[in-house]
């Protein structure tokens, strides 16, 4: 019996993009459903009653919620192709540590860069650059965080790059100038089909951020 796979998502969501990349990398056919977050569908509310958030992966009617939980589920369920997590427990722990770091730091810093001004914004910009430099250190001379091929950490981080143009415009700074190695890694990821067809246009993201700012009355 064929698998029924649905992804409840929202097009600019970095967390949703992670799932899109993983599904594409594994060659999984799925139905993409874009949610209106101001008017959440009955399906979303039924599949994620606890958090009521996207992304949600619905596999043969059963929901999986939280992007990192979804990534590991995809990796373990469709394990024959393109493994995302390494097999060695220590290397898996390192990948999980850095993904946890990115989730705890990056999203909040990004939000501050586009939605605040003055000292709060300057601090957020500085910390964002520091975080990217730390990640550059972790990347080292490897082409990808996963080594020779795209891995768990690459899939988890690369969607944030679609928001960089918006951060740069809102924060009036250049991430490329400060973190060239990180940007080079982003470009390498974009050469991979599962990534390029899953990520959205950074200019569209900037348009979305401008709409958000207007809606929230942020200058």
């Amino acid at each position: 019996m064929a698998d029924e796979v649905i992804l409840l998502d929202f097009w600019p969501s970095m967390f949703g993009m992670r799932c899109r990349i993983a599904l594409a990398a594994k060659g999984v056919k799925y139905e993409y459903k874009d949610e209106d977050l101001r008017n959440k569908s009955e399906l979303l509310l039924k599949m994620n009653p606890i958090h009521k958030k996207i992304p949600v992966l619905v596999h043969n009617g059963k929901p999986v919620c939280e992007s990192l939980v979804i990534l590991q589920y995809i990796d373990e369920t469709w394990s024959d192709k393109c493994p995302l997590l390494p097999s060695d427990p220590y290397q898996r722990a390192q990948a999980r540590f850095w993904v946890d770091y990115v989730d705890k730091k990056f999203y909040e810093l990004g939000r501050k860069v586009w939605s605040t001004k003055g000292e709060e914004q300057e601090t957020a910009k500085k910390e964002m650059i520091e975080s990217l430099k730390l990640l550059e250190g972790e990347l080292g001379d490897k082409p990808f965080f996963g080594g020779e091929k795209l891995g768990f950490l690459d899939v988890a981080i690369v969607p944030f790059s679609t928001w960089f143009y918006a951060y740069e415009m809102c924060g009036n700074f250049s991430l490329e100038a400060e973190c060239p190695k990180f940007m080079a890694w982003t470009k390498r990821c974009m050469e991979i089909e599962s990534v390029s067809k899953s990520l959205v246009d950074p200019h569209k993201v900037y348009g979305f951020v401008l709409q958000l700012k207007k809606a929230f009355g942020i200058e």
Partner: protein, 219 residues
């Protein structure tokens, strides 16, 4: 060659206790080094340069940081005959979802209830009880969150039970009344040797919380 396993910890930390319980469940011999968080050791700063936090597990000289990452590492490295996570990918996803819920909701609500005052504290108290009720619903009539066997979510949540008494007194409610199933689950877990041996003495902890509260109020 025998494994060298060292845990860098701070005795009241529920996150450190997660690691202790997991190690004991797997029958792993380990040494604990107590950290003074106001004067962190060179070893801690070397082993966790990014977050500079406990717990850190050092396995044959190699560090693993972040309690959820450490517990998964322990599960993947030792005792395959007594796994903490289930083997089915969907059940594993459920366990990881609830682990994430414990960290996002229970920990933050408890912490907020502790450090805030007035109306904000009341709101935090309410959120804590509501989050605990969600867990009560998830536990249902099962012996443990994992079903028949003590598992991943149980390991991650049980250390927070040491804070329950302090929170009850602060918020003027009774967990036995609000969440009888969770209260019964706590009693059941405390009968396990790994839990009883790992959790700190309740009286010592209560005194520690009182002192901490006084310090907060003085600031």
């Amino acid at each position: 060659m025998a494994d060298e396993v060292i845990l860098l910890d701070f005795w009241p930390s529920p996150f450190g206790k997660r690691v202790m319980i997991a190690l004991r469940e797997k029958g792993v011999e380990f040494d604990t080094r107590e950290e003074d968080l106001s004067n962190k050791s060179p070893l801690l700063l070397k082993m966790n340069p990014v977050r500079k936090q406990i717990p850190v597990l050092i396995h044959n000289g190699k560090p693993i940081c972040e309690s959820l990452v450490i517990v998964q590492y322990i599960d993947e490295t030792w005792g395959p005959e007594s796994p903490l996570l289930p083997s089915d990918p969907y059940e594993r996803a459920r366990a990881r979802f609830w682990a994430d819920y414990v960290d996002k909701k229970i920990y933050w609500a408890a912490r907020s209830a502790w450090v805030l005052t007035g109306e904000a504290q009341e709101a935090a108290n309410k959120e804590f009880i509501e989050s605990l009720k969600v867990l009560e619903g998830e536990l249902g009539d099962k012996a443990y969150f994992g079903g028949e066997r003590f598992g991943y979510v149980d390991v991650l949540l049980i250390p927070f039970s040491t804070c329950f008494h302090a929170l009850e007194t602060l918020g003027n409610y009774s967990i036995v009344e609000e969440c009888p199933k969770v209260a019964a689950w706590v009693k059941q877990c405390m009968q396990r040797e790994s839990v009883a041996k790992s959790l700190p003495d309740q009286h010592k902890l209560d005194d520690h919380f009182v002192a901490l509260k006084k310090e907060h109020q003085a600031q």
